[in-house]
Point group: C2
Chain length 187, copies 2
DNA sequence: AATTGCACTTGACCTACATCAAGAAGCTTC
DNA sequence: GAAGCTTCTTGATGTAGGTCAAGTGCAATT
């Protein structure tokens, strides 16, 4: 449960009384490597904080997977847009490695939002971060060629190469696995 | 001032007392057609609600403009990620037509967030909408070819063609003006 | 109403990256 | 530890859509 409090307190400070109420809403969920956590067309029921493991979020189109993000230790995880809108997910959330999540259900989170302004604030601040991150990603996808996108990711998150298969990183960068491989080979 | 209350109340309900305090923070800003509202490298100082006119938000790279969104009547406007993070904007916000905005400054909005949980809630709900919309856009850009993206926009927002130059729509759809023109010609 | 300047169109050509294919190198699993 | 996956590499070929260029049309400015 500590990762939950630590993650929330990256944004706001909770009193012990608040924390007690908040903590009661979370449950641990465990997934083995490769397991689908949330499937396409399923409404995302959980907002999660990652205790252990790496997950990827992707969608499928004409039999091709396009990865749009990863989640790992200390960060949040889930199909955020499906959770927010409570509509069927276009994405799949999958455990890349053995995964332990702390999760809170939609109704519980809404209740906490209503009950504690500080949680509403947490929700807003987290979303602000998401929005800024997605804007950065959008600019990068549009302005940079395959090579520059590769270089940038390697500079910013070289550890990713250890955590997830290259094909998923390639897809995340919006290029084929072959192109990714060739960029790596070039030195 | 009515558009402000109407827009906010699409998300939350304000008591008259709350509205009085909130209303006091906004000011009217007028821009003529073509004027730059927020320039690159400038920190976005305002969050705005559109009273009149159309704006586009774009960035420049190697002398090429890439349009990433539009704003018009009753919606919000501004360089959201720069405003949120209070860091220099990578984007330009420009008045496509004669524009009247109601705007609130960063400090004032932060104060309202602190003062009124209902405003915090408004902020969260608005961001949720942004996140869902950007996720949809991302999926469309990745899964669909130029023609399908064109068809989809024409089905969803045909009015856009009357409001902004085709080159901006083309750019918004992630294609050259020439490709856009050719897609229109085909019937 | 002539001038200037952008937006749009249309055609010819080009290129970054995808796709296809086939082999090599890691992993699981029994 | 051999069999069978899946991932990764490397080469050959294909293509959607970009870029360049040369008009055409229209609206604003004089």
């Amino acid at each position: 449960m500590e990762p939950v409090r630590a993650t929330i307190e990256r944004y706001v400070v909770l009193s012990d009384a608040e924390w007690e109420e908040v903590a009661a809403c979370w449950q641990e969920r465990i997934f083995q490597k490769g397991a689908v956590i949330t499937a396409t067309d399923q409404v995302e029921a959980w907002f999660s904080i990652v205790k252990e493991g790496v997950q990827r979020i992707y969608f499928e189109h004409d039999g091709v997977e396009a990865c749009i993000g990863f989640a790992y230790g200390g960060s949040w995880s889930g199909v955020y847009d499906s959770f927010i809108s409570q509509t069927p997910s276009r994405f799949v959330l999958q455990a890349v490695s053995h995964t332990v999540l702390f999760s809170i259900g939609y109704a519980d989170l809404q209740r906490l939002y209503k009950q504690f302004p500080v949680m509403e604030r947490f929700g807003r601040l987290l979303l602000e971060e998401v929005v800024v991150a997605r804007a950065t990603r959008e600019v990068e996808q549009l302005t940079m060629g395959a090579q520059e996108r590769y270089d940038r990711l390697m500079a910013r998150s070289p550890h990713l190469l250890q955590l997830v298969p290259q094909k998923d990183i390639a897809s995340y960068l919006g290029m084929s696995a072959e192109t990714f491989s060739r960029l790596r080979a070039r030195r």
